[in-house]
């Protein structure tokens, strides 16, 4: 079991948990957090390199590093792991954000408990991304959800009780549907008389879920994961939750946890039930298409920085789900890139907002102004994050959005020309409009918050970023720019293994 490299993605956080429990003072806690998250980054980078090496050597299995250990034999539940390019991208993303998040919460109060929960959360995240067994996947998924409650409740701000409860209940509500969907899939995972399985690869191979059941189970799983992906109208946990969460939690949540939704939608809902995905995608296309513009419009009038970002996340994550539903290779590649890109840049955003809030004690843009003169470093980072968000070439947002638009437009036109309705096309065009609206709200914030005269003279005494804050933001900016400048690397990484999966989806159509 321990010869499989993937296991260490769970082992390292668990060891960190153990060490944290033994820690006596804040220095030790920081050391554990930093060393552990560095270890995770190293591990994921190693995995990335090794993976590309294996692929280059001609290994064409859909998943690599697969391992499967029986857990609950009677139900055929395994601890099954395996990764393809998508998972590796997500693992990389998660480890980077955990790293940045540790630095962003350098001076948190009650550090021991905070990091315990944070690392537990990341255990769930890593476990989720390496799992290919639906049971373990679901388990890790829920492991990742519940620490949020305490993290927001104890370390949050504002209406934290309300937000924490709302977030937890809505997400668990989603997972209620999800659980039903997963068990349903399990019971149809094999042809009559075959061995039922939770293993996604086997389920895809068997392709035995009856059509009628697909139409029932697909919405269940899609909505289940979609809630976490902030799909309209189940997104309302996101603004409140993010607004109240402490910095690192917002980062991790918007940066990684919301990706669990998109990843799950793809990996479970669409991967295993392509027929239903094809037939029912219109419902969710409408919903996600609405999310995209709706979130952006709402962000235009909010004055709380975190609310603005939360709505922007709704919009961007909506785009992820939207692209996945296009069932088109390019769009799906774009969706994965958007996940990466949004994860990084939104983490950056939340880190910066947290840092600004930590100094000014307000997040109302009407109460701030001229930050560029007071804290130039943070402000410049904020502008960069904003530019990434509105899709400036050279930063990650552009690449992802363009890939999505090209792919969706292709899918939309294909539908339209084949006389299959113009829904996809219309919603692609609507989604395209989001690039303008995004520009509006980003520039509005930048203009009000960073530029202009200093609004409050008390703010003049505030200091600029400290070294750990710089480290945290620089890490993220480098990654954002890295994806933005060299997209094809990620494109290849994802594409490499994306193809078989997509063909199996499209082959059904």
């Amino acid at each position: 079991m321990f010869e499989n490299i993937l296991i260490y993605f769970v082992v390292i956080p668990l060891v960190m948990l153990g060490l944290l429990a033994l820690c006596r003072d804040i220095k030790q806690i920081r050391a554990v957090a930093v060393v552990g998250s560095l270890g995770l980054i190293a591990l994921s980078v190693y995995l990335l390199v090794d993976y590309l090496g294996l692929r280059a050597a001609g290994n064409e299995a859909p998943m690599l590093y697969t391992g499967s250990w029986v857990w609950f034999e009677p139900l055929n539940i395994h601890l099954a792991v395996g990764v393809d390019g998508i998972s590796i991208a997500m693992l990389l993303l998660s480890s980077i954000i955990v790293f940045a998040g540790s630095f962003a919460s350098w001076e948190i109060k009650q550090p021991k408990e905070f990091f315990l929960w944070l690392i537990l959360l990341s255990t769930g995240v890593f476990g989720f991304f390496i799992s290919i067994d639906m049971f373990t996947m679901f388990m890790f998924y829920e492991v990742a959800l519940i620490p949020m409650y305490l993290l927001i409740g104890v370390w949050g701000s504002g209406r934290k009780n309300y937000s924490a409860m709302k977030l937890t209940l809505m997400l668990m509500g989603g997972s209620a549907f999800l659980m039903l969907g997963l068990i349903g899939i399990y019971y149809h995972s094999a042809p009559e008389g075959g061995q039922l399985t939770w293993n996604l690869l086997e389920i895809v191979d068997n392709a035995s879920i009856p059509h009628g059941w697909q139409s029932f189970l697909f919405p269940m799983t899609f909505v289940g994961f979609g809630v976490l992906g902030a799909m309209f109208p189940f997104h309302t946990w996101s603004p409140d939750g993010h607004a109240s969460a402490p910095t690192a939690v917002s980062m991790l949540h918007a940066g990684v946890l919301m990706k669990l939704g998109g990843y799950g939608c793809f990996r479970v809902a669409i991967y295993t039930m392509p027929q239903a995905a094809h037939e029912l995608s219109w419902i969710f296309l409408i919903l996600t298409g609405i999310s995209v513009v709706y979130g952006a419009f709402c962000a235009c009038v909010k004055t709380d920085l975190k609310y603005i970002n939360a709505y922007s996340s709704v919009s961007h994550c909506g785009l992820v789900l939207f692209a996945i539903l296009m069932l088109n290779e390019t769009a799906m590649t774009g969706a994965i890139m958007q996940m990466l890109s949004h994860g990084l840049m939104t983490a950056l955003f939340f880190a910066l907002i947290g840092m600004i809030y930590g100094r000014t004690h307000t997040r109302e843009i009407t109460e701030m102004g001229g930050m560029m003169q007071i804290m130039p470093y943070l402000s410049v980072c904020y502008v960069i994050a904003g530019m990434a968000s509105l899709g400036l070439p050279g930063l990650s947002g552009f690449v992802a959005e363009m890939t999505i638009f090209v792919g969706s437009f292709k899918a939309g036109m294909a539908d339209y020309l084949a006389g299959a309705g113009s829904l996809r096309l219309v919603f692609t065009l609507i989604a395209c409009c989001s690039i303008v609206i995004t520009a509006v709200y980003i520039l509005r914030v930048v203009g009000k918050l960073l530029f202009g005269p200093v609004h409050d003279d008390h703010h003049r005494q505030l200091t600029d970023a400290s070294w750990w804050e710089r480290l945290s933001t620089v890490t993220l900016i480098v990654c954002v720019a890295g994806i933005g400048c060299f997209p094809n690397f990620f494109n290849t990484l994802i594409n490499f293994t994306f193809k078989p999966a997509i063909f199996s989806v499209l082959g059904m159509n």
Partner: protein
């Protein structure tokens, strides 16, 4: 051809941007400025050598035996692969117009770099705050603009298109503590972003049908035997043609998809080039430092729209309707901007509207270019005007900058009679005015004259219309000139220094540009740039009739301006009183800004965003909350069930048991 030089042309500004952006704060102002200028100077040399090489070396890669100029892809690196065919590459594309643009951009950019060394400090020689940042942004802009013009494919163009937009945003908002600058930069970005949406959709449509982003696939045919060398074919390549023509040509809402794609792409151009109705950002963009206005908002970035249309011109030729739209939009914009320019009091605004008007000239010129009329004179004229306009408009802006620097205000009412105090500025400004007015032998005469003859070939109406615009151009430029330098004697206020000419770093660019503006008209432009690479005999198509008419018009306009504005007199006020409505409309730019304000704030903001946000908080979120509230209500409602009375418990128990059986029995029966 080696790829080192092209790569350096792009890499040096990028490097300067990153270097100055990261380390600028650590070094002295002067060092940063000098480094930036030196970097740009290097690029200038490299670009000139490249252009020279391209135009004059006679290399078979660049010109064939028939003397036709070819297109050469110096390098093309895959950047992002969407599908097997659809690939964004980053490359370096060398053809007549890109080589010409290289020259224009590097020249103006270098001038501006140099000029800013003097401009960006106050009278005591103290550098402005953010000086290093300014140079970093200038480098970023130069990089983006160079990348734009050498784009090998339409998506590369889009990428750099966005980047120039962003650097324009940063530079307009350079004085970020000034709210007006902030809102101007925001406006510029959002308006062009809106236009880019059209551009993007246009690209999507075009690429969906053609399956390619590459310009060479869309407009050219490969030259046999040579790798990466293409020749423009005015009859579009078979591959593209077969998609869009014939009975099976795809249609959408009554127009062919090609028309849609081209018009949408043109929409992007309209945004960048400030064509009506997307022009509103450009006058506001004058909030930026004046050198920026010269570089971005006069000479280079704003002509990107023209460049885009020129780049895709063979495609546009396929769709007459698209070209007609371009002509109409251009003609309207040209006239509108000229009218407005006559009634502005801010010198930079006057120049901004003049820029809009002149770019519209170029657009019209492209719109009227047809093979049957003088073998595409319009295309050549447009490019020529682009070139000359860049020079004299940059000159005018830099001159205006010198004035503003000296006076400290944009308002010409604070200037009047400056000719004695600032002779260099005066003379160079006059040259600029003569050039733009189209007085022989200044450069504007040649290029504008060709545009007018192209219009004349196409349609008399357009010709008369554009001549009228040319007349107005001469009028408002000289109105400006007189109001700045003549009108009445300049009063020097107590305690102020008298305005004086600028340091050499500022004067030198003025003089150089003035010199170029004088002689540029004699460049045999047609030999170098033409729409299909064939050398174009410009003199063969020269129409003396048109030339003399336009010359006469210009002289009359100048005379009129002289009469009205040379000396302080009541004539302008009388005219204003005679046509109050016209003046008011022109002065308020026909209320376009107010209209946009109304649409964005009153309609989009108040009628869409706010209701949506309300809807989200109260309806969607309210529904979610109401689940919780309902649960609590239900919990409250069933409270009496647990009354604490054991007899009640038992009663419910008994009823429950009986109902359980009873209902089952009923169901079974």
């Amino acid at each position: 051809m080696s790829i080192t030089i092209p790569i350096l042309i792009l890499a040096i500004p990028l490097f300067m941007f990153i270097f100055l952006g990261l380390c600028g704060k650590k070094m002295s102002h002067l060092l940063a400025g000098t480094l930036g200028t030196l970097g740009m100077g290097t690029v200038l040399v490299l670009a000139y050598s490249t252009a020279f090489n391209y135009f004059f070396s006679g290399d078979p890669l660049f010109i064939n035996e028939a003397g036709e100029r070819l297109q050469y892809i110096v390098f093309n690196q895959t950047w992002l692969q969407f599908t097997e065919n659809l690939t964004i590459s980053l490359g370096f594309f060398l053809d007549p117009i890109s080589a010409m643009m290289l020259v224009v951009i590097t020249t103006i950019s270098f001038m501006v770099h140099l000029y800013s060394l003097g401009y960006m400090r106050d009278h005591h020689g103290v550098f402005e705050k953010g000086f290093q940042r300014f140079y970093a942004f200038l480098s970023l802009f130069s990089f983006s603009m160079l990348g734009l013009v050498v784009a090998t494919n339409i998506f590369q163009m889009y990428i750099f298109w966005e980047l120039v937009g962003a650097s324009s945003y940063l530079l307009i908002g350079f004085y970020y503590t000034k709210p007006s600058a902030v809102s101007a930069s925001k406006k510029a970005f959002i308006v062009t972003r809106f236009a880019d949406l059209g551009f993007l959709i246009g690209i999507l449509v075009l690429s969906y049908y053609t399956g390619t982003f590459n310009f060479t696939d869309l407009t050219s045919a490969p030259v046999a035997g040579l790798e990466n060398v293409y020749q423009v074919s005015l009859s579009t390549p078979e591959s593209v043609l077969s998609i869009f023509q014939g009975s099976a040509a795809p249609m959408f809402m009554g127009a062919s998809v090609l028309t849609w794609a081209l018009v949408l792409i043109f929409m992007g151009g309209m945004g960048k080039s400030a064509m009506m109705p997307l022009h509103i950002w450009l006058p506001d963009a004058m909030e930026g430092p004046t050198p920026v206005s010269a570089l971005i908002h006069a000479a280079t970035m704003v002509v990107a729209g023209v460049y885009l249309v020129a780049r895709l011109f063979p495609l546009y030729l396929m769709e007459n309707s698209a070209l007609v739209i371009i002509t109409v939009v251009g003609a309207l914009t040209a006239f509108y901007a000229a009218m407005v320019a006559c009634a502005q009091i801010d010198i930079k605004r006057v120049l901004a509207f003049s820029t809009i008007s002149q770019i519209a000239f170029m657009m019209v010129s492209l719109g009227v270019a047809r093979p049957e009329y003088h073998e595409g004179l319009g295309y050549m004229a447009s490019m020529f005007h682009l070139f000359t306009h860049a020079m004299f408009k940059a000159l005018l802006f830099l001159g205006a900058g010198a004035l503003i620097h000296a006076i400290g205000s944009n308002d010409y009412t604070a200037m009047h009679g400056l000719r004695k105090y600032m002779p260099i500025t005066h003379w160079t400004f006059l040259i600029g005015c003569l050039a733009i007015a189209g007085i022989i032998p200044f450069s504007g005469f040649f290029s504008k004259d060709e545009i007018l003859s192209a219009c004349g070939n196409y349609s008399t109406l357009v010709y008369i219309w554009m001549s009228l615009v040319a007349f107005l151009t001469a009028f408002y430029m000289f109105r400006l000139y007189y109001l700045i330098f003549w009108w009445k004697e300049h009063k020097v206020h107590e305690g102020h220094h008298a305005p004086h000419d600028q340091p050499w770093t500022m004067s030198l660019p003025l003089i150089i540009l003035a010199a170029v503006s004088v002689v540029a008209g004699f460049i045999p432009f047609g030999k170098l740039v033409s729409w299909n690479g064939e050398p174009y005999d410009f003199m063969a198509h020269f129409d003396w009739g048109v030339a003399s008419i336009s010359l006469i018009l210009a002289v009359v306009a100048i005379a009129l301006a002289t009469v009205m504005y040379r000396k302080e007199n009541p004539l302008p006020d009388k005219m204003q009183a005679a046509l109050p409505a016209l003046w008011k409309w022109c002065h308020h730019r026909f209320y376009w800004d107010e209209l946009y304000m109304f649409i964005t704030h009153k309609i989009i903001f108040n009628c869409i965003c706010r209701p949506l946000a309300w809807f989200d908080r109260h309806i969607i979120d309210g529904t979610m909350d109401s689940f919780a509230i309902l649960t609590n209500k239900a919990s409250e409602a069933i409270r009496p069930l647990q009354s604490g009375q054991v007899q009640m418990y038992v009663w419910i128990y008994a009823i429950g048991a009986i109902l359980l059986g009873g209902i089952t029995i009923l169901c079974l029966i």
